[in-house]
């Protein structure tokens, strides 16, 4: 099957109730093992589970990054995301985060750190591909930037990542 996604299913989109499990997994790790363990979990997942994507990004550069994220959000129910490829970066304008929207619709208590996972995971994946990742916003809408070294992005400001309000 020809897809920019490393792992493909027989159905076009995932089941949004699985966001409940992602949120519950974060809560379990944060409460049971602490924030450093949660960071390790995401970074190890970024380097391990996502290794095939990272290799695609290393080989294909920014076009591969843009193609991946277009396919990724097309498979996430409820996502409203624009993917823009520029000369030195790919920007994801997340107008509606499908996870936050579904968790809210389901009345779930969302871990306040939820949006940080996109930075911790995305940053580990970008680093493995020789890129830099930054995140601005959160709590339902945000902007992700995946950039080459030429972009000379400023370091990530943690204050730029919003906490989630349930």
């Amino acid at each position: 099957m020809n897809s920019p996604l490393p792992y493909v299913d027989t159905k076009p989109q995932g089941s949004a109730d699985f966001y409940y499990a992602v949120n519950a997994t974060f809560r379990f790790i944060l409460q049971r093992l602490g924030r450093d363990a949660w960071r390790s979990y995401l970074e190890e997942m970024g380097r391990g589970y996502f290794a095939k994507v990272n290799e695609q990004w290393s080989r294909g550069g920014l076009p591969a990054v843009a193609e991946y994220w277009r396919a990724f959000f097309a498979a996430e129910p409820g996502a409203d995301v624009e993917v823009r490829q520029l000369a030195d970066r790919v920007e994801l304008e997340v107008r509606t985060c499908p996870a936050i929207a579904h968790l809210r619709a389901g009345g779930r208590e969302i871990v306040k750190e939820y949006c940080q996972h996109c930075y911790l995971l995305g940053s580990a994946r970008a680093q493995a591909a020789g890129l830099t990742m930054r995140l601005q916003g959160g709590d339902g809408s945000c902007r992700h930037t995946y950039a080459t070294a030429a972009a000379r992005l400023a370091p990530q400001d943690p204050a730029q990542i919003k906490e989630v309000r349930s």
Partner: protein, 188 residues
């Protein structure tokens, strides 16, 4: 972002991470606390409240969403609820994509549904072949005895009638009137 499209992939990867960090006990606690008591609390509340009709509502909905091609069959009666998976959407995803970070992904089902069903007053008969085929029968906890004969509940939809289903029960992981994920009699 962690997505829901490939959920089964990173979910399975997580089992291996939990086992490396905290051993088997942490994996068990994850399935019970994070999945049974948190993520799937809607299933837990429904089944505790309604019993078998609640199982029909929960699994009827969630399996249709996960497996639109209907690789499963549900049968039920006053004292039994049964699912036959002919093409498990979850295990099938892992097999098709060559993903394995944990020794037996199939254990997660008993890992969270076993404790959930015990809290609701049910025990489980179950067998899986690790190839995306399995069957489940939930009965009130007063039930005793061995597995029901082939076809007794699901008729011709019984997964055990498939030609590739192992005839030797020692080739299957099996549970009998169980609710603890460690009550498995593993394939030999």
């Amino acid at each position: 972002m962690i997505g829901c499209y490939d959920f089964c992939g990173h979910y399975e990867w997580s089992f291996g991470w939990f086992e490396r960090v905290g051993g088997h006990a942490l994996v068990r606690e994850y399935w019970n606390e994070a999945i049974n008591h948190d993520s799937q609390r809607h299933a837990r509340d429904l089944i505790r409240r309604e019993g078998i009709p609640g199982m029909l509502k929960y699994w009827g909905h969630t399996l249709t969403e996960e497996s639109p091609s209907l690789g499963f069959n549900i049968s039920h009666g006053p004292d039994v609820f049964r699912i036959d998976f002919h093409d498990c959407p979850s295990r099938g995803f892992l097999l098709r994509n060559g993903l394995r970070n944990y020794r037996d992904y199939c254990d997660h089902c008993m890992g969270w549904t076993g404790p959930m069903l015990a809290e609701a007053g049910f025990v489980v008969d179950h067998e899986h072949n690790h190839q995306g085929q399995c069957w489940w029968e939930m009965r009130p906890k007063s039930a005793t005895g061995p597995h029901a004969p082939v076809g007794a509940v699901a008729g011709a939809k019984d997964v055990r009638l498939r030609p590739e289903w192992p005839k030797d029960p020692r080739q299957l992981d099996r549970y009998t009137k169980a609710s603890d994920p460690d009550a498995k009699m593993p394939a030999s």
